[in-house]
Amino acid sequence: MKKVTKFLICLLLISLLITRCSGGDKDVPSDPKTETPSGTSGEPKYKKEIIIAIADEFTTIDPMETTAESNQIVQDCTHDLLTDTNLLTMQNEGELVDSWEMIEPDHWRFKLKENVRFHDGTILDVDDVIFTFERGKDKSTTSAYISKIKDFIKVDDLTFEVKLHNGDVDFNYVLAANSLAILSKEAFETMPEEEAVKIGTGPWKFEEFVPGDYVSLVRFEECTLYDVPNTERLVFRMIPEASSRMIALENGEVDAIMSPSPTDYNRLSESSNLKLITETGRGQHFIGFNCSNTNSIVSNPEFRKAIAHAINKEEMVIAAWDGYAQVSTSIMCRDMEYYADIEGIPYDPDKAKEMLKELNAEGITLNLITSDASHRVKMAENFQAQMARYGITVNVEFMQQAALIERLQNDKNTEVFVLSWTPGMNADYMYRNPIHSQGGRSFYANLNNSEIDALIDAAAAEVDTTKRAQMYEELQVRLTTELVPWVPIAQATLTMGADKDVTGLLLHPGLVHQFKTAEKIIN
């Protein structure tokens, strides 16, 4: 008995020791309910710490290591880009760059802002930009952008010119890629790389990262590029489960949550203490066709047009997003430059039936593939139900995202797929990868149309903005109403839940949401 008792006592002691050792001395986020005013008498008082619950894991502060949004959201607080999208005006503006000039489409001049201080105290100059671009040459996240540059010319400490291999009238947008955040050359010369990557020019400085748990930032008191934040500490807590994030928000353990569950939207918007923040996302959700599959009727543009007439998009939006999405009439995303408000192909079931009859397409079977993301599953199921009304049987196959992408890239017999496309801000990005036959790896619709390819190339090279707008409108109309490689369904609404008094939370249509000015005034 004594030996058994000793064994159990030892076990209990070991357990308690482990519990105390691994939990006791860690510098964890302080109790968010303990609000320490930071202002002086008469001035507004701010909550000391803002905690944001994110769904996916943060893994690195190095902007060049991954393109995952969960990393970029944090990196956006600590590092800056040469140019970036202003989320209030939705325009591409200078962030570290004060001004720029396109001398020729393949020759650009940039002038950096003066007296921009890095977290290590050094001042930004052209050498830091050159260093960043040199470092990014061999990195998979940046090499595609940097390989566009033929020559990099330092004019003075704050001015540089770049010469490109090929003309690009949208080169300023290239510099807005998050992985091209500018790093401090001196930091890399004086610190180990893992420390140097933490040094940026943003209003927040990296403080601590506990893998799988949280990453914390502290305000940069000597920041010259932005006003010093009113909040002292910004913490991103990783809470993968949507219902757990919601409970943490309701319980006051966090101040804002990313991606709340659609079932909680009403609770958030009707709550007296919480709010639902919404913004139309840039992701275009669509039903796509493999236009080159000549063994299938989907290669016929008339059939694709008939399907476009047959789909009730409003119904699909309710089924997939509980109505939290904006129906699309064009293949192009709404908030992009050169978007033209076209009518597209309207829902017309009678016309659809007539066209399908002419094509002898009644009673056929289509095979659809998509990923297991819940909105895609619902879109696919709704499409299946809608097509049944026209006598078309749709076999649906769900798979993981990685498997779906591999299948779309390699399987020539694909017929229909449900997917989304989230482009950058510039119009060329919208078309080049998914539509241009030489554009990239997202060419799943296999349109292979030389006229469209030429139009995309011509629009990208056109300097005259009026002519360019006409070209992009022509592209929009032809792709949406004539060639129909996709039937655009909707742009889903992005959402965030937050304490009603928290401000400075900006949803980014491209998913890199901004928290630089997150704060909460307390009484």
Binding site: V4, S22, A144, D213, M238, A402, R441
Partner: protein, 309 residues
């Protein structure tokens, strides 16, 4: 005894080889290409091939497997494809949290199951026995994901006593440990009960009673001593399961453990991280079982004598 321990260590080698082989090949068979997922949309084929080479994913499957095993023998589990850091570092950053949760849940399970199992056995076929078994069945059959959410709603949201998630401090382990411990307690209660029932029918206890020893002393001094021995064996596998089977609980309670990391690695096709985590789990599981066997020999002189021969 030492020879036995060495023998057990050597037996770990084929187990680890088999696990690494199965995991590596299964991960490779799963559809989806991590390089395709990680490359920017406008990356060219040449850039993708460059990335593939950088990540060590070039060459045929056997070539890659042998390269992996060669490094593994040197103690190098490789670099995570998605996090670009050594797998061993990532694993040990997260392992303390998993270990903490596993031990926490074992404590909860023991606190619930041992008294309940004894009560059920000593009051055999009474209402107490029935109630104990119903409680054990409830613990076993309740989905831990659901139980976790219920506990969060009650203790965090309604009562505000405990945090709903995270791993900051002692209070944050209580709810995940209870959730994980509940299922283990169900199993352990049933084993304690059956083990006690077997022991209390033994002749030596009848003799003790005949000699006038009090019932309390008979149960707690004589019966429990022998009944607890099988529980120690079960403890090993329970701890092993707790190490690897806490994925749902780690997700609900945002617990930064290895289970969540492994699932996330599998979903993102991070082959080296997933394989590395599973190999490390296997090592810890087999080590735990070995320790349990040694402990078993320590508490049971008959086993020790058998090893000594």
């Amino acid at each position: 005894m030492i020879r036995y321990i060495i023998k057990r260590f050597l037996m770990m080698i084929p187990v680890l080889l088999a696990v690494s082989f199965v995991v590596y090949f299964l991960m490779d068979l799963a559809p989806g290409d991590i390089v395709g997922m990680m490359a920017p949309p406008d990356a060219t084929e040449v850039e993708i091939e460059m990335m593939r080479k950088e990540m060590g994913l070039d060459g045929t499957l056997p070539e890659r497997y042998f390269r992996y095993m060669k490094n593994l023998l040197k103690g190098d589990l490789g670099m995570s494809l998605s996090m670009k850091r050594p797998v061993i570092d990532i694993f040990f950053e997260r392992f303390p949290a998993t270990l903490k949760l596993a031990f926490g849940s074992i404590i909860v399970a023991m606190i619930i199951s041992i008294p309940l199992g004894i009560a059920a056995a000593t009051h055999h076929r009474s209402w107490l026995d029935g109630a104990s078994m119903v409680t054990a069945m409830l613990g076993l059959s309740m989905p831990s994901f659901w139980l976790g959410l219920l506990l969060i709603i009650l203790f965090s949201l309604k009562l505000g006593w405990l945090p709903s998630g995270g791993s900051d401090g002692f209070l944050s382990i209580i709810l995940p440990a209870i959730t994980l411990g509940a299922a283990q307690a169900g199993n352990l209660t049933r084993i304690t009960r059956s083990s006690m029932l077997e022991v209390i029918r033994q002749d030596y206890l009848r003799t003790a009673r005949a000699k006038g020893v009090s019932e309390k002393k008979v149960i707690y001094k004589h019966a429990l001593k022998n009944a607890l021995i099988p529980i120690i064996t079960i403890f090993g596998s329970t701890l092993g399961n707790a190490l690897g089977g806490a994925v749902a609980i780690e997700t609900v309670f945002s617990w930064p453990g290895v289970g969540r990391l492994t699932v996330s690695a599998i979903n993102s096709r991070d082959m080296t991280l997933a394989t590395g985590c599973i190999i490390m789990f296997t090592i810890f599981f087999t080590l735990t079982m070995l320790l349990v066997d040694i402990a078993y020999a320590y508490v049971d002189p008959r086993i020790k004598a058998q090893y000594s021969k």
